[in-house]
Every structure is written in structure tokens, then in C-alpha cells.
Subunit: 90 residues, 2 copies
DNA sequence: ATCAGTCAGTTACTTTATGTAACCTATTAT
DNA sequence: ATAATAGGTTACATAAAGTAACTGACTGAT
């Protein structure tokens, strides 16, 4: 709960459910500042929820993806989605 | 999501799942400051998730409880609980 | 009548978190 | 050499949260 009630955590995981993504892409998609995204991704990596993969291409590409632990979050987020659809019509 | 990622919202709803409760009780149970609890309860009331019931006893008793919309949150919170138990053993 | 106690908050002030925009480092292309 | 791109970080400003003291309505005891 302390995890989810941190701002952006839910949206970041939700965003990553659609597949591995790079820093800039996540930033643009959910509208979080680079500073906070950087902090959150480090936290999520330490929690073992997110993985950081470096592809030494040119230019370098770094992708963030969910681990098994992170993927297990999906049902929670689908549930939230479902609740929203049922109750936030107004 | 913007709702749940506000600090304390999840814990307040979780706490209210165990039944109607008064201000002081919620405050003590989850360790939120009176100031923020007051704000959050107002927000939740405006969202139609929480109800405020006044019992003009002596001294006055005011209880907060979940509406139908709020009770529909239960499955989300149970899911989070379940996830925690599965993954936060370490 | 006055003092202390309870409940449900509010207010003033401090600390922490977040946002903004500029900057840094490494690599490659021109 | 200069500029562009990716992936951040830093310094500074604003917003949110914590703390502790206070208000206001009521009651019960002195």
C-alpha cells in the first residue's frame, strides 16, 4: 500500500504492462517529470518490480520492463480499471 | 488512478472496510495526521465513496462509512493484499 | 458559575515531495 | 568542430504533508 500510494507508481506499472519501454516514452505517455520518473524507476528496480535493460546500440537504448513480480500487478490494475468504468461514468 | 495514488486514500478505504468509524479512530489506526485525514475524507465524500453520518448523542458522534461505490473497492484492496502476501515475504 | 475533559476538526508554521528548466555525459552524424 | 539524440542530474521554485497548538460545542464535576 505504501508502494501504490506513492504518486506515479501505479501509472508507471500500468504503462509498462503494454510492453518494455524507454525512459522518454514513459515520460511522455504519462506526463511525469524526468526527475520523479528517474527516482521511481530506481525504487521499482530495487523492489524487483522493474528491470532495466541496456542495449548498446547507437544511440544506446535502455528499456524498462516488468519482472514477474511486476507482471503480477496486472490483475490489480485491471480491477482498478474495471472499477473506474463502472463508477466514474458520471 | 489519480485517486488511488493520492497518499492515504487506499489506507483510509481499507480501514473503512472493517465498518463505520469515527475520525479519531481512523487517525490512530493508520497514523495519518488529522489535517490530511480531514482533507481526504472531504474528497472521498465529494467522490461519493464515503458517507458522513452524524449522531447527535453526547458527546456528538460522527461516523464515516463506505457507500456502495466505496464498498466496490474491496476487491481491489483484497487483490493488493494478496499480491503483498505473495511477493513481499522476503 | 467555572474548570477540566471529549470530540471533531482548523490554523500557523515547518519539512518533504514534486515540478521546471537548464545542464551534463556519451555516442554518432555532418 | 558542431550539432543531435538518449538518458539522465542539478539547482531552484512551488505544492503537499507533518506537527503541534488551538477553536467551538457540549457535559459533568467542584
Amino acid at each position: 500500500m505504501n508502494l501504490l500510494s506513492q504518486r506515479w507508481i501505479g501509472l508507471i506499472i500500468y504503462q509498462l504492462l503494454s510492453g518494455p519501454q524507454r525512459f522518454c516514452h514513459i515520460e511522455a505517455a504519462i506526463g511525469v517529470s524526468g526527475k520523479v520518473l528517474s527516482e521511481r524507476l530506481k525504487d521499482l528496480e530495487n523492489e524487483g518490480i522493474v528491470e532495466r535493460n541496456i542495449y548498446p546500440e547507437t544511440p544506446v537504448r535502455i528499456e524498462y520492463s516488468l519482472t514477474e513480480k511486476g507482471l503480477a500487478f496486472e490483475s490489480i490494475l485491471r480491477d482498478i480499471e474495471h472499477w473506474s468504468q463502472s463508477w466514474l461514468e458520471a
